[in-house]
Symmetry: C2
Subunit: 397 residues, 2 copies
């Protein structure tokens, strides 16, 4: 990305979209059995079976829990905390699903809380939220079982609450979707992050669970810096803390009555039932890659696929209202927005042209919007995403 | 426990030894296949094999990382962070080992950091620390594999760094050590948490990774409250923050030259190679329970075993210097100390009398001190621990 201004703004808030420093710290670790796959896949040491592999995958809701806390304190129902559990779990599940794992999944969770800010009733909501996701998936024929967890009272470490989870699953090695197979000629199908999937009970504003540090501080203001200092790092310059135009209950422009707070807290949609359907509907030879467009947004795919791939995305999904509001509030460039947020599709498939219709059909059966967003071409050097929107063209490497 | 004074002190610091509120929040969760076992054991959904079971277990280093941060800032080598990884991982592994699991283990870890306080070099040390434990265990014939992890920059949530991990293992159901079998007539063997196990390179002060919020604030002072406000919850009353007599580099009384900081940061010893040896040396019918004396210290066993068991502990291990220093600094009663810290043995076995000699032999072969610390008697009502020390007798229910 060439726009460094907002990356500096990210870093000034103690977050980063790229995490190059962290990647440098873990380079000594093995890349696993399928180095080009969407998540790390390891041998099945539990059984020793050479035909199978395991994924043990950790992720969390990130700073979205700080927004849940703030909204809850501002009068949102305590149930907003269930959404945080869903964020934590789905960020994991959908990563695993991108390598073709469709269960059974086993889940453990950790909650680190400041007990003076987060009572047991909130812990109970978070735990219930994990179970609720499992229940929804059960209704879709997918097994996801909570195995337990750990709640630690660590107020000396945590300002409010941090919610992480770990997912374990097993997959036949010959069933792995290995994103290194994404190749020139593939079509990119984007699956909407908004609307209402068949397994959702309300419309989803689409943000998922990344980029929330920036979105929160740039969307919201109204004195939150003074009222809820426990939701911001004291090291951050005050002019970057809750410097936005909205209070959490304010209406989202173009949001059909949804509040900005509810939109930003929309629980991360799981695409798992759709991915299970795609596995059935698309021949394995045609399903080359699935990308969970979380951190890094629409630039994420550049880390996958054959070397030198040129990802031409020239038919993006119309920008959903929440992302338009974030763009407006942050003053970020469109290029930066697409390099941070999913901007309307949090899952994309790279498939052979013959498989496009099946992808669109599968999405329709799930109540999820889908469209061809681009294609894969051969490039000359480093892999790149060339994104064209009504606002211009940006290149990500 | 009848002494409520220090429990109040715990709560005033936002920690708790008992976590009754959290337990209330998760009562709806299933207890698993062996409700009386030391950790939750679930069906092996990954393979569907009815003869096997799985454990997916989460824990972390708790607030010990705040002490590592402080000591590192005070000039301790950056390698103290490796110990935090060991704390996080061993708190998990040793829980799993108490049900008889001896590997292979798969590990995922999460680091939530405030990037302004915790640079990538610290992240690298933590990651290396996890691998170092795996390497030591490999030398003991135990497979423990890192599968990856997630480092999140969440300064709005985390003051310094929080380090958690999740361990996955598989065990034959007929090999589970089910602590519900602990019964009257059993002998309690305690395994020292101090000294130097065969797989350790330095002497261990024995504290493990629980009770560190209290120990840290009551042991250390010297202006740390003002110098490192990022290591304490601002909600805590200032007179409870770093109100102790020591600086981290001060000599531990009776510690043979060890500093108080190094003693309190002693990486949690893993008993795993010892437990593997116990499994070989003691007939399964005689090995009724293994208890990891972490949170709840020497009162922990009261939650396990047959209803009404009376755990008579009348031959405790001599109090190690670090615990004596904590006792002195906190003004806690001995009863409270034993109900919080391990006080010298972080693992105990409940075995048939015929198996005692084998336990002692196994410990000796590992370089770990061991002794009979008590026995199990039949009681009339609620299970209880009756602990007799040179300072008196305390009862825990």
């Amino acid at each position: 990305m060439t726009d460094q201004r907002h990356d500096a703004r990210y870093q000034a808030r103690g977050a980063s979209a790229g995490k190059s420093e962290v990647h440098a710290a873990i380079t000594a670790q093995s890349a696993g059995l399928f180095p080009g796959a969407f998540c790390k896949i390891v041998p099945d040491d539990l059984t020793g079976d050479p035909d199978h592999a395991l994924v043990v995958h950790a992720d969390g809701a990130g700073t979205k829990s700080a927004l849940a806390y703030l909204a809850w304190r501002e009068g949102f129902p305590i149930g907003v905390w269930r959404g945080i559990a869903q964020d934590s779990l789905v960020m994991n599940l959908d990563d695993c699903a991108c390598i073709g794992a469709t269960g059974p999944f086993l889940v453990s969770n950790t909650i680190g809380r400041n007990a003076r800010r987060i009572p047991g009733t909130v812990v109970a909501e978070i735990v219930a939220g994990y179970q609720a996701v499992c229940d929804v998936l059960a209704g879709e024929g997918i097994t996801c079982r909570m195995t337990g967890g750990e709640t630690a009272d660590v107020g000396d470490l945590v300002r409010t609450a941090i919610c992480d989870s770990t997912v374990v699953c097993r997959i036949r090695r010959d069933a792995v979707i290995d994103a290194s197979r994404i190749a020139p000629g593939d079509i990119l199908v984007g699956f909407s992050s908004t609307g209402r999937a068949r397994w959702e009970t309300t419309d989803n504003a689409g943000i998922g669970s990344n980029g929330l540090t920036g979105a929160r501080h740039d969307l919201f203001g109204g004195g939150y810096r003074e009222t809820y200092p426990e939701t911001a790092a004291p090291e951050t310059s005050p002019d970057l803390v809750y410097c936005g135009p909205y209070r959490v209950g304010d209406a989202l422009p173009g949001g059909g009555g949804l509040s900005v707070g509810a939109a930003a807290l929309a629980p991360t949609r799981t695409y798992l039932p759709l991915i299970a359907r795609l596995r059935d509907a698309v021949p394995a030879a045609d399903l080359h890659g699935l990308i969970h467009c979380s951190g890094g947004g629409q630039a994420k795919i550049v880390k996958f696929g054959r070397p030198g791939n040129r990802y031409i995305k020239d038919a993006p999904v119309p920008v959903p209202p929440l992302f338009a509001a974030i763009r407006e509030a942050t003053g970020m460039s469109w290029a930066e927005m697409y390099g941070t947020y999913n901007m309307g599709w949090r899952l994309e498939a790279a498939v052979a042209p013959a498989a496009v219709a099946a992808c669109l059909d599968a999405a329709a059966a799930c109540g999820i919007g889908a469209q061809v967003v681009g294609r894969v071409a051969a490039g000359a050097g480093q892999a790149e995403v060339v994104l064209t929107t009504p606002d211009g063209t940006a290149v990500y490497r």
